[in-house]
């Protein structure tokens, strides 16, 4: 049996989660702590991927990163191709899952007593240092939960990935796409095996999460 889709899916979702963390944690902090014009709009945009049909997201993403799209053309100038590569799959998985990370982390930041941060300010600590020593340690559980959910969502993405990366065997065919492919070809045994692997991986992650969440700080 070809295990390539499993490895690809793991790689894609790890990278997608890293990307999500990089963008999502600052976004969550801004949404939890700052008041500015356009804040509600930003919050709406963040949640949108959660409620829009994946094909709609995939379509617009493709418009952006396709060889004629603004991002696609800019990257093309450097010889980097995005659409219908495994990198597009990473982007697709990240877009699909970022809302879960942002919402969970934002809720976590919001439960951190503002007075703790104010106290830290009067004690002379920089905002950066306050974030790492006070805010994040007190919100880490929500951040962890958001990260695991985002990972699982990225791992299971189907629609967006299909739209922007296609389902090229040995190249962009992730685990969910591979399962669909096997079913279409009546290879039920393989479909079954891949599905069980998918379940095992996500279950393992969720169990690990609940174990970690029992730690204090």
């Amino acid at each position: 049996m070809d295990l390539f889709p499993v490895w690809l899916s793991l790689r894609v979702s790890v990278l997608a989660t890293a990307l999500t963390l990089l963008v999502g944690v600052p976004a969550a902090w801004v949404l939890a702590r700052k008041r500015f014009p356009g804040r509600d709009l930003l919050e709406g945009v963040v949640v949108l991927p959660l409620v829009l049909p994946p094909t709609v997201l995939g379509y617009y993403l493709l418009v952006l990163i396709g060889s004629q799209g603004p991002i696609g053309r800019a990257l093309g100038a450097f010889g980097i191709e995005l659409a219908f590569t495994w990198r597009a799959a990473v982007l697709a998985a990240a877009v699909g899952s970022i809302a879960l990370l942002v919402k969970a982390t934002q809720a976590g930041f919001e439960t951190v007593d503002r007075r703790l941060e104010q106290a830290a300010r009067t004690l002379g600590r920089s905002e950066w240092s306050i974030f790492w020593s006070v805010t994040l340690p007190l919100a880490w559980r929500s951040l962890l939960a958001g990260t695991v959910l985002a990972f699982c969502r990225a791992f299971g993405d189907f629609g967006i990935t299909l739209m922007v990366a296609g389902s090229i065997p040995g190249k962009t065919q992730t685990l969910p796409l591979a399962i669909y492919d096997r079913v279409q070809a009546f290879q039920m045994g393989e479909a079954n095996a891949l599905a069980l692997i998918a379940i095992a991986i996500t279950l393992l992650l969720l169990l690990g999460l609940s174990r970690l969440a029992r730690l204090r700080y």
Binding site: D113, R115, L116, Q118, A119, A120, R121, T122, L123, G124, R125, S126, S129, S133, V134, P137, L138, Y217
Partner: protein
């Protein structure tokens, strides 16, 4: 040059609400000042502006001769103590107290002795390795004090620091804070709605109401010469009598009675409000026992309740339709006991009145 803190016509509004309105005052280096007032009077907003958590909408805040309106809290070097303690729950007592020291790039070897010194100062060195959740409220607030003092702030700001604590602990910590202030000679601004706290702690009290300063002065000045009926009512207890000016000099009409008042009456207005402290009212043995007192100022009434308040006994006496409070020392009360239902004669000395124009609110 001394490091005075000066507020110059400082105002703050939230939308259309003026939380603080043109407050001007000076806090001298080493002084203990209390902002006193009911909730919503703007005292906490004022303190938060001094701390740098809020920016004034108008006016200037100066420290050490510099305008600090836009200075971030990190750069002010003012300590802050919250009502809710605001200790970092994820850190031990030691790490909490060391928190500010670590921001200052102080050599690691010098941090531990400094933390121990502060823990000794508040008497909690043995709790070094505990977490805040393992301490009582009073202990947590002592750690919060140590944490705020660790970095040698030039001003310590305290926002209702004792309001969440039990009465006994409150009184104990009050004296602890006073002791720390004296020992360290640090400038303190202390916000409270508890007049007893303000009277016992402050070198100077700033009484606030609806965003404005009503009166500023020592505890004795505020208590003895409240400048408005609000202050007379809020600081300590006062009996109020709504009176009318009489044609005769020094007399006012209270119902169908005339009372003599030693203080000059306000220049204009028909209505006069008299206030008198419960301890200024005397209980006479008999209405005829005057002994040189002003005969007009004797009022008769019926005792409604007798309440033991510790050192004093408070009688509530119904005079006409007004309830008058009378405070007696235990000794006075033993000499002249009173029970609910007793008819008594009260003497209101002419010099015991505080006089305010107009009726009350």
């Amino acid at each position: 040059m001394s490091k005075d803190l000066i507020l110059d016509r400082v105002s703050k509004h939230f939308g259309s609400l003026w939380a603080v309105h043109e407050v001007s005052l000076e806090v001298r280096e080493g002084e203990f000042v209390c902002f006193l007032g009911p909730s919503g009077c703007g005292k906490t907003t004022l303190l938060r502006m001094v701390a740098g958590f809020e920016t004034p909408s108008a006016g200037r805040i100066l420290h050490d001769g510099r305008v600090i309106n836009d200075l971030i809290p990190q750069k002010r070097n003012f300590g802050f103590v919250f009502q809710s303690y605001a200790l970092f729950p994820n850190m031990t007592v030691f790490d909490n107290v060391a928190f500010g020291l670590r921001a200052r790039r102080i050599a690691r070897a010098r941090i531990a002795p400094r933390v121990d010194e502060l823990l000794d100062l508040v008497g909690l060195r043995h709790y070094r390795e505990r977490y805040p959740a393992q301490l009582s409220g009073g202990e947590q607030q002592r750690i919060a004090l140590a944490r705020a003092l660790a970095t040698n702030p030039s001003v310590l700001l305290l926002d209702e620091p004792l309001s969440a604590l039990d009465a006994k602990i409150r009184v104990y910590l009050r004296s602890e804070i006073k002791r720390l202030q004296r020992e360290l000679g640090i400038t303190m601004i202390y916000v409270t709605h508890d007049q007893e706290e303000a009277l016992s702690l402050a070198d100077r009290i700033v009484v606030m109401e609806r965003g404005r300063v009503q009166q500023m002065g020592s505890a004795a000045e505020i208590y003895r010469r409240p400048r408005s009926s609000f202050v007379a009512d809020f600081v300590g207890t006062s009996n109020f009598l709504d009176c009318r000016r009489d044609r005769a000099e020094g007399l006012v009409a209270f119902g169908d009675r005339l009372l003599r008042v030693a203080q000059p009456l306000p220049a204009d207005g028909e209505q006069v409000s008299l206030a008198i402290r419960p301890e200024a009212v005397e209980l006479l043995e008999t209405p005829s026992e005057l002994g040189g007192r002003e005969p007009r100022n004797v009022l008769e009434g019926e005792v409604e309740t007798v309440t033991l308040l510790g050192a004093v006994v408070r009688l509530a006496v119904l005079v006409g339709r007004e309830l008058m409070l009378v405070d007696l020392t235990q000794r006075e009360f033993d000499r002249r006991p009173a029970r609910p239902g007793d008819r008594v004669a009260l003497y209101l000395p002419p010099e015991g009145f505080m006089v305010y124009p107009g009726g009350r609110g």
